[in-house]
């Protein structure tokens, strides 16, 4: 194994994970450190704060209250619904990766599970293309800067390589979880072969995403639940 391959499979994944979590923590720290505004800034009607702003934050995150608010005001529900569906497909596609990280041979061999993964991957990909087209049209074209497109292209890269693996290769039920659990426990295992050459690209894009994530608009992932907290501060 070349030095480069060794670094790629056994060193940079740790860096990516560290930057991902460290970076997101840094984001939150930066908001926490910034001085609050001396005023109540939340909008009305304001729900009772009986359980405190934290509980409210949890409830609003789960019920997606602010997103539904947006649908209510905006005349067109399609872009917002598509945006919601995009996030839903993303989470389900991520969930489909369970047998990659854990020994779940029953799921791995299930045809339904495989079809579910394909469907979620295709849906997520299609919605990403919609998001890209949406961004290039009308006022959003002028509102967008290159980083907005880069974020979408990176995700599209991950979906394409992921679908390539999903559709053209039958994964070994043991190989991938062994490799990833090995990484997690520092008992390094051989690089998986059953996923084919696209695995390199998929793995590379994901590592790139993890490093890029906290320093880009993706940080809205940790930002969304905190929106109300920030407004209350």
């Amino acid at each position: 194994m070349s030095t480069l391959a060794f670094l790629f499979y056994y060193v940079t994944p740790y860096i990516a994970v560290a930057v991902f979590f460290g970076g997101l923590a840094y984001r939150v720290y930066r908001w926490w450190r910034a001085k609050p505004v001396a005023a109540h800034l939340s909008l009305y009607p304001r729900p009772h704060r009986r359980w405190g702003a934290f509980m409210e934050m949890l409830i609003e995150t789960v019920t997606l209250k602010m997103v539904f608010n947006a649908i209510k005001i905006s005349g067109s529900a399609l872009p917002i619904t598509a945006g919601l569906a995009l996030h839903g497909a993303l989470f389900l596609a991520l969930a489909h990766h369970l047998p990659v990280f854990f020994h779940l041979p029953a799921l791995r061999s299930s045809a339904i599970w495989a079809a579910f993964g394909t469907l979620m991957g295709l849906t997520f990909g299609a919605l990403l293309l919609y998001a890209l087209a949406h961004r290039m049209e009308g006022r959003r074209k002028h509102l967008s800067v290159p980083q907005d497109y880069l974020a979408l292209l990176l995700l599209i890269g991950i979906v394409v390589t992921g679908l390539h693996i999903r559709l053209l290769h039958t994964l070994d039920a043991q190989e991938l979880p062994r490799f990833f659990l090995g990484l997690a426990t520092f008992h390094w295992q051989p690089v998986p072969q059953s996923a084919g050459p696209a695995f390199i690209w998929h793995f590379a894009f994901v590592q790139l995403l993890m490093v890029y994530f906290p320093f880009s608009k993706f940080s809205h992932m940790v930002g969304y639940p905190l929106a109300k907290m920030v407004a209350y501060s």
């Binding site: 910034a34 800034l41 009305y44 304001r46 602010m66 800067v145 608009k217 809205h220 920030v230 407004a231």
Partner: protein, 412 residues
């Protein structure tokens, strides 16, 4: 170019703004909420673009790759022009904050950035000057007092005759339970003189006005100083209630900023909009009105700063329903109501007249759809703007305050 702006902005980047700069994904939903954008379709009127402009100025420049990635460039004349439009063509109504999935506060951004732009000399000078005058008024109040009291006495005499109420009083600067803080002009005093008389309230008129123009230009230090005169006055007179006239931004500061500005100094003093106070009189039976006194189709315009920014939705409706036979809601209403286009200090700046008229088109459509003949509201800015819109677009409606209706329908 714009170095001062950038420097001031960096210093004043508060938590919600830091969050704003990091989080905005430029989905562009906010454009749907903005009445300026609805009419102009001008990029600089999209709230997310307003934020992007400021963000670009805050970012470091010089690295070619990063500059491409952020579409960054050194500010030029066009940047200044866009920035002026983005920051001054805004009423701070915060409708876009309501639609934003992340609750990003363009009102706060505009307020903070206006202050920075003023330091650069690119400001609405009239508004800032009035703001300064409101601060210094407190220093010369003793000299002004005599003249003011004389004027009020004259008004008192006139109203006594007009209404045939010989014991009507308009107390100024006297110890009382309620300190009523009006806006400039006797129209803010007359209806309340009648209502307070009917409610047998122990009240006094403030020597100051509720309006706080420094708030419009984001100068919170001055806004606080101007409001502090009223705090001192209330304490000196032993007031238990401070009631603000029908004025949007001032009511918002009273209800949502004073706790943070004055803390213990205002402990035990109740703060209300006069609309809330009058609603409580009616509920408690302290005043009586002729039910269905006005047989005219009327609608209520929720001022942004009373409605979604301060939570006063039901009290004005309760008052209007008490005297109206045909009350019609605007669509949308309450927290979703469109801004009239006159807020954010734009009223005080003559050169903003045309901008205001364009920003009010959504409101005009809304009013026309109801078929109402009277448009009732509870904010001085809204009243002026609605009157101007009425004239410009030939709406043929009358603009009234909520307390005007109640005063005219009082049973004495």
């Amino acid at each position: 170019m714009l170095e001062t702006f950038t420097e001031v902005m960096r210093q004043r980047l508060s938590r919600p703004l830091q969050y704003f700069m990091d989080i905005c994904i430029r989905c562009g939903l906010c454009a749907d909420a903005c009445h300026f954008y609805a009419d102009s379709r001008d990029l600089a009127h999209i709230p997310a673009y307003r934020a992007l402009l400021v963000k670009k100025l805050l970012q470091s420049k010089g690295n070619p790759l990063l500059d491409w990635y952020r579409e960054n460039h050194w500010p030029d004349e066009r940047t200044v022009e866009e920035l002026r439009k983005a920051l001054w063509d805004c009423t701070g109504c915060r409708r876009c904050t309501l639609i934003c999935p992340f609750h990003l506060d363009t009102g706060l951004l505009v307020s903070t950035a206006r202050y920075a732009l003023l330091q650069e000399g690119l400001g609405m000078n009239m508004v800032a000057e009035i703001g300064k005058a409101e601060v210094s008024k407190g220093e010369i109040i003793d000299a002004l007092k005599e003249f003011y009291v004389g004027q009020i006495q004259e008004l008192e005499g006139r109203l006594r005759q007009e209404w045939g109420i010989p014991d009507l009083r308009i107390p100024v600067d006297e110890p009382a339970r309620v300190l009523y803080v009006p806006v400039v002009g006797e129209h803010a005093i007359i209806p309340l003189a009648k209502i307070f008389y009917a409610a047998k309230e122990s009240w006094t008129l403030s020597l100051f006005t509720a309006t706080n123009h420094s708030f419009f230009v984001g100068d919170m230090e001055k806004a606080k100083k101007a409001a502090h005169w009223i705090v001192q006055e209330a304490r000196r007179l032993g007031a238990q209630v401070i009631a603000y006239a029908e004025c949007g931004h001032a009511t918002r500061t009273l209800l949502n900023f004073w706790d943070h500005w004055f803390g213990d100094e205002i402990a035990g003093i109740q703060r209300v909009s006069v609309v809330q106070l009058v609603a409580s009189y009616l509920q408690e039976g302290r005043i009586r009105v002729r039910e269905g006194a006005f047989d005219v189709p009327m609608t209520y315009h929720d001022p942004c700063n009373l409605g979604r920014n301060a939570g006063i939705f039901e009290e004005p409706r309760m008052l209007i329903r008490a005297v109206a036979t045909d009350f019609r809601e605007l669509t949308p209403n309450r927290e979703l109501n469109w801004c009239c286009g006159g807020g954010g200090g734009l009223i005080a700046e003559p050169e903003m007249f045309e901008v205001r008229m364009k920003a009010g088109r959504k409101k005009v459509e809304q009013i026309q759809r109801t078929g109402a003949k009277w448009v009732v509201t509870a904010c001085e800015n809204c009243k002026t703007q609605l009157s101007d819109l009425n004239e410009r677009y030939g709406l043929g409606v009358e603009i009234k305050g909520v307390v005007d209706l109640i005063a005219d329908a009082l049973v004495l």
